[in-house]
Amino acid sequence: MESVFTSVLKYLREVYLGVKSILTSCFTALPYLFNRRSGDLHKEVTEQYPDPVSSRTADDLPSRSRGLLFNDIDRCTGCKACEEICPTKCITVENELGTEASKVWVAVFDIDMSRCMFCGLCVEVCIPQSLVHTKEYEGAAYYPRDLVISFGRGRITPEQRTKWAAIRQAKEAEETL
């Protein structure tokens, strides 16, 4: 059986600990009031999306943020490096021979954004740097098929194929002369 003195001391100690815990949480919260926080969280707050007051746009994102993919088909060589490295196999490239032996007609360049995991590997391997991540992040669509983005020049008809083959052969014949 403990003495009255011990009980009173215990009681006072508990009161002290309660007050201390209240004050600790108060002073932990205080820096947040003045936005003085350490590290990357500085002045970062949760805000409504889309927020018309702060009116943040896609351009306000960090420079290296990875949004939806974009391929500049005029610079694309159709080398299929992106297709090969893609871990989720979401890029489909189909090439045709063009009017010159050195030029490739990129007929199909489809990216299935529903499978893309935004790893950025395809952008890294792209030698002509035609494939880039935009800052666009609003990719919602009603149907999965709408998530397939096509950058290709389109398939060519059999007539065009024979015509282009003829042009190509004519040029080769000129060069060999």
Partner: protein, 355 residues
């Protein structure tokens, strides 16, 4: 002119021969519409902004400059809510009781050396009447709802009011011991304008008594962080579970009024009331009217009250809310013994140290 009304005789803003009841009614109306209602809106805004900052959110930022008019927009929204229940005698009874409680307790508020509507030997005790009427009205409203959250909420409100009243009363008696009276003017005169002459810093036991008084008031009126009687997760807001629209805005105004009343009384009792430095008082007396002096005093009092309210809000938003049974437990087992300790300590201090 009755003797207890002589304090605001010097205001002379009313023409001679104005009946006493008209003077009293206009003062109460002035306080209600120009002090309490804008104060409620502004404090609601500050509360939301500060709690947003503490939780790394933005808070209201749409209406007006930095969302300053958000409370007004909320009020307008609440006022145009459609009625769900046909109003009957219950609503009329509750509205009547609540309004009566609000208006009658404005009369006991001390708001400056000349703005004392009721300045008698037991003025300070009247705040218990005010606070208990507010608690009683809230309890009756809960019991009137005819729903389980209402019944439980009403009982919780009553138990919190009973638990908080005892330590609050003892804390107030500590001030009475020092001032030698419970008259508002005497309590104010016992303190000075400098914090060194405030009751709260006059001795260590008054310091304890101040915090006990403030905390037990929060218990008594069920003000956040000690508002377990109105908690949402277990009893759906208790007495406020069925309120919406006009009635909700009235209820919120009443809750704010309780908070304001208690902080304001705590400032008057412990934190130097409306006292200005003597040279300031003299300067205003010599170069301006008594009304200007009263206005400055009221401003000082309101600023101090606002700071106390912000402090309570800070504690409330940074700490988790505790259950209703833990609140009454704390009031009986911690606040009450501490208040008695403060009372005994103050008595001993006054006899052995001050003399």
């Amino acid at each position: 002119m009755k003797p207890w009304m002589s304090a605001w005789d010097g205001l002379d803003v009313f023409p001679a021969g104005t009946p006493e009841w008209a003077v009293a009614a206009s003062i109460v109306g002035f306080v209600y519409f120009f002090v309490i209602m804008p104060g409620a809106g502004f404090m609601a805004f500050l509360d939301r902004k500060i709690s947003a900052d503490l939780q790394a959110r933005i808070g209201p930022n749409r209406v007006g400059l930095a969302g300053l008019f958000q409370p007004l927009a909320d009020l307008l929204k609440l006022l145009q809510k459609e009625k769900r229940i046909v109003s009957g005698w219950r609503e009329a009874f509750w509205l009547g009781l609540h309004t009566m409680a609000l208006y009658s307790t404005v009369a006991v508020l001390p708001l400056g050396s000349m703005f004392l509507l009721v300045d008698t030997d037991m003025s300070a005790f009247m705040l218990f009447w005010a606070a208990l009427i507010l608690a009683l009205g809230t309890m009756l409203m809960g019991l009137n709802q005819g729903s389980i959250p209402g019944w439980f909420g009403g009982i919780r409100v009553a138990s919190q009011a009973l638990a908080g009243a005892f330590p609050a009363m003892i804390g107030m008696i500590c001030v009475g011991l020092r001032a030698g009276s419970f008259r508002w003017s005497a309590v104010a005169a016992a303190q000075g304008s400098s914090p060194l002459h405030w009751t709260v810093f006059s001795d260590p036991f008054q310091f304890i008594a101040f915090f006990v008084f403030l905390a037990s008031g929060m218990v008594l009126l069920g003000i956040s962080p000690l508002d377990g009687g109105l908690s949402v997760p277990d009893i759906h807001g208790g007495v406020s579970s069925h309120l919406y629209g006009r009635r909700l805005s009235l209820f919120r105004l009443g809750r704010f009024y309780g908070f304001f009343l208690w902080s304001e009384i705590a400032v008057v009792l412990f934190m130097g009331a409306w006292n200005l430095p003597l040279f300031v008082t003299d300067a205003i007396r010599n170069y301006s009217t008594p009304v200007a002096l009263e206005a400055v005093e009221l401003l000082v009092l309101l600023v101090k009250t606002g700071l106390v309210m912000l402090g309570v809000t800070w504690v409330a938003r940074a700490n988790p809310r505790i259950r209703a049974d833990q609140i009454t437990d704390m009031a009986w087992k911690v606040l009450s013994p501490l208040s008695l300790m403060a009372l005994i300590g103050t008595t001993v201090w006054m006899i052995w140290v001050n003399h």
